[in-house]
Amino acid sequence: MQRLGYLGRRLGYVLITLWGVSLLLFVMLQLLPGGPAEAMLGITATQQQVDALNQELGLDRPVVAQYVDYMGRLIRGDLGDSLVFGRPVVDVIGDALPATLKLAVYVVALSTLSTVTLATLAASFRGRAIDHVIRALPLIGVGMPGFWIGAMLLFLFALTFPFFPAGGIEEGFAGALRSLFLPALTLAISVSAILIRSLRRGLIDVLESDHVLTARAKGLRGVRLVVRHVLPNAAIPTVTLMGLVFVSLLGGALIVESVFAIPGVGQLLVNGFKRHDMPLVMGIALLSAAAILLVNLLIDVVYSLLDPRVSLR
């Protein structure tokens, strides 16, 4: 019905944007000084050797031909082979994806939990001391670089008080929970800074609204009042922020994966850049772009589900 039409149109936009992303990336990666061949052979290789390798990798053809070829394969889901790992990009990313996904889910859980509790606390005691503390707390998160928060957490909770392993991922669900807690907390700190401020504002506006007064006049109070009437209304503006937060998550994950030695996609990206592994970098960038666009689409749909006043047009 009407919503499917909207979804269809939005998915169309996603594809167009993805094509735009691939074009932008392809052009920019051509501008990078040097190339994969030099990177693989090292500076000392004779020019003739470099040409041979370029020819083998098909990099000596005109850029347009390379782009057409790349898009042709992309449509069939073939992201080409990674130069460094010598394996299809899809496999290389596939190996690293679980780690990043586990981390991402953990961060979303931690930040949602902390955001809801802290924002509700701040809103219900607005104006008092606890409200100011809670509002100042995340500021520390926003300002501090991720690698420093990570290093501090590791220093405190992996060495001084060895509750957690110092990086890496342990097997099994419990192992992952334990070993990914510090990295997830590092990211959650900076991510929830924005969310707490937004949800707190939303909560205060709703707590002062007339319809909450009506609800109280109907005998609702305490948790039941908050859950049925306050939170759903207050959360709406914060949900839209989740999209923005998800994007910053990917950037942050890159740093956190390096600090906590997590074999995730972020690591692949950094090494891909250093080693000029263009197919790998393109693959990761395209997949993360697709993920971001789909998450934004999901959020718009959730937004319209949450708030009937918003129609999907």
């Binding site: 300002g143 670089p145 690698f147 002062e208 910053s248 990917l250 950037g251 390096s258």
Partner: protein, 286 residues
């Protein structure tokens, strides 16, 4: 229509703390004074700093805080306090420049997209989607490798990735303001599109941009520090808080203040900017 009585009952609109108006102005004063001191420190750094931030004294490296070196010396024997002051020159001014550039670029494109309507709007929104679809860090990495290192290219890279947030904000506000009576009135009075845009639409819209910019600056300083960690940040030996934090991190156990001092500098600046942003948000909400 709300009578005075309802106003009392529903708590004065806009102010969420009981002490409302007085409370908000305190936040603004504290916020602007913090940011002001940072700007002063950045401008007066050469005169305030007790030593040349680049002067090395290797035998005296990693000295503990003392009378001569209030914050001790770093791993090359340079005075940490002097580097902190000069660091503000890099981080704050760079942060403002990048946020400013992104703001201007974003506002212009936002205005054009919001006001010009249909075809232009579709193109600009698609470009916005493309830029925002890419994880910021990827675009930054590529831009910095293409533009080469150095403050100039970092500002350009941050601006080229940061403008979208401003554009979206301004465009949304313009869409709201565009159809309101006073804009059509101005059009009726024969004002050309640009004059309407800048004389009428912009004044109502720029406050959103400023509010976002205050938090954007802190995020940018965080990004500069992250770039330093990845090895493509500000060139050594220029003092920069993020790099100072990273250099000091190796000495966490024995010399925790090497990282803590620049860290605190960023946090307090963040606090100042947030207070300003809060105060402006309240003012804009009324």
């Amino acid at each position: 229509m709300s009578t005075v009585e309802t106003a009392i009952v529903a708590e004065p609109a806009g102010a969420e703390e009981p002490r409302g108006r007085r409370r908000r102005s305190v936040a603004l004063i504290v916020g602007t004074s913090i940011v002001g001191t940072y700007i002063l420190a950045a401008v007066l750094a050469p005169w305030l700093a007790p030593y040349d931030p680049l002067a090395q004294d290797v035998p005296n490296a990693l000295a503990a805080p003392s009378g001569s070196h209030p914050l001790g010396t770093d791993h090359l024997g340079r005075d940490v306090l002097s580097r902190l002051l000069h660091g503000s020159r890099v981080d704050l001014l760079l942060g403002m420049a990048a946020a400013g550039a992104a703001g201007v670029l974003g506002t212009v494109l936002g205005l054009v997209a919001g006001y010009a309507g249909r075809s232009v709007d579709v193109v600009v929104t698609r470009v916005m989607d493309v830029v925002q679809a890419l994880p910021g860090i990827v675009l930054l990495l590529v831009l910095l490798l293409v533009l080469g290192p150095g403050a100039g290219s970092i500002i350009a890279a941050l601006a080229l990735t940061g403008w979208v947030a401003y554009a979206r904000l301004v465009r949304a506000s313009v869409l709201v303001v565009r159809d309101q009576d006073f804009t059509s009135a101005a059009r009726l009075a024969g004002l050309g599109h640009p004059r309407v845009l800048f004389r009428h639409v912009l004044p109502n819209v720029w406050i959103q941009g400023v509010i976002y910019m205050t938090s954007d600056i802190v995020i940018i300083i965080g990004a500069i520090a992250a770039l330093g960690y990845l090895g493509i940040g500000i060139q050594a030996p220029t003092p920069e808080w993020g790099q100072m934090i990273y250099d000091g991190q190796a000495f966490l156990a024995s010399h925790w203040w090497l990282s803590a001092a620049p860290g605190l500098a960023i946090v307090v600046l963040g606090l100042g900017l947030a207070l300003v942003s809060d105060a402006l948000t309240d003012r804009a909400r009324r």
